[in-house]
Amino acid sequence: MHEYSITESIIKILKKELKGKKIDKIVKINIIIGKYSGYSSESIDFYFEILKKGTIFSSAKLNFIIRDIELECPECSNKFTADSVFATCKNCGYDEKFNVISGKELLIESLETE
């Protein structure tokens, strides 16, 4: 459900970005999305297909660049990718709170025009 307002924000930010630029057609929008961002790329895509109608983005497709969850062990500084923030450090066995280096992102990286 919260992807609806996020998709609205994506369109709003891009419209602002394109203001004053002479562009006829946007074909692709590249979005960086972390696995721990709290957002579903499928849902953003679903809402985008509805919200793009009648806008400069009507021919555009979303391309999601997925960022893995990368954690850093506060005990031994070991960096590793994990499926979730609930992890165990293979180096020292630490299993409490890790520093999340990446995986929380939700960024509009770029757009591509024809």
Binding site: S5, K21, V85, L107
Partner: protein, 217 residues
């Protein structure tokens, strides 16, 4: 084909307004809590208990609900100033909604209690300009909620465990809850309360008073 680099955080527009809200609150020496939980865990009850105990303070309550004003009417009955926000199609409050309330505020408050829309997912993504995020988890919901909804517990400044009077009828396991919290937010010390039986409220009130005492002036 031409590529245009954007590199913008999708939530940046909300963050800008949240910062403006925070500046306003700071300028007015007002402390602001964003109270979040699942529906039915007792946000309104906690607020009612809080305003009862802090009757010497100037308090404003902002109620966020998809629809209706049931909770706002309960607050109004207590004589406390209250604004109702109906979000309609949105499952959370955002900074812009709070900014709209700021535009209408005519006096200074010591404390603003924002009751977010009942939801453990989206509200945490949207900063409102608050000083502290308060999360309420009630005993009937179970101790495993932080495993299922980690982000809200990761960002919380205080965790209230409400309805502790129902512990005898529940499998709620504090040991397991604390084990999960260690992995998410080491500073989070759960405060056990029961609004129904007025248990543990003093600890919560003392926490608020301590935060208010940290304000300059």
């Amino acid at each position: 084909m031409k590529k245009i680099n954007v590199m913008q955080d999708v939530l940046s527009s909300n963050e800008i307004i949240a910062l403006k809200n925070h500046e306003y609150f700071k300028k007015n020496n007002t402390i602001v809590f964003n109270i979040m939980s699942s529906p039915g865990s007792g946000k309104t009850s906690v607020i009612l208990e809080t305003i009862k105990k802090l009757f010497n303070y100037k308090i404003l309550v902002i109620e966020g609900d998809i629809a209706g004003d049931i909770d706002a009417k309960k607050i109004e009955k207590s004589g406390t100033d209250v604004y109702q926000i109906n979000t309609f199609d949105s499952c959370h409050l955002n900074a812009s909604m709070i900014n709209t309330v700021i535009q209408k505020i005519k006096k200074r408050y010591d404390l603003i209690l924002i009751e977010n829309v009942g939801n453990l997912i989206c509200p945490v993504e949207y900063n409102l300009g608050e000083d502290y995020k308060i999360v309420i988890l009630s005993v009937p919901e179970g101790h495993d909620k932080p495993v299922k909804y980690p982000k809200i517990f990761e960002k919380a400044n205080l965790l209230l465990i409400n309805k502790i009077d129902l512990m005898d009828f529940s499998d709620f396991d504090f040991k397991k809850l604390n084990e999960t919290l260690k992995k998410l937010n080491k500073n989070l010390q759960p405060v056990k309360i029961s609004c129904k039986k007025s248990l543990g409220i003093e600890e919560w009130i003392n926490w608020i008073k301590e935060k208010i005492s940290l304000l300059p002036g």
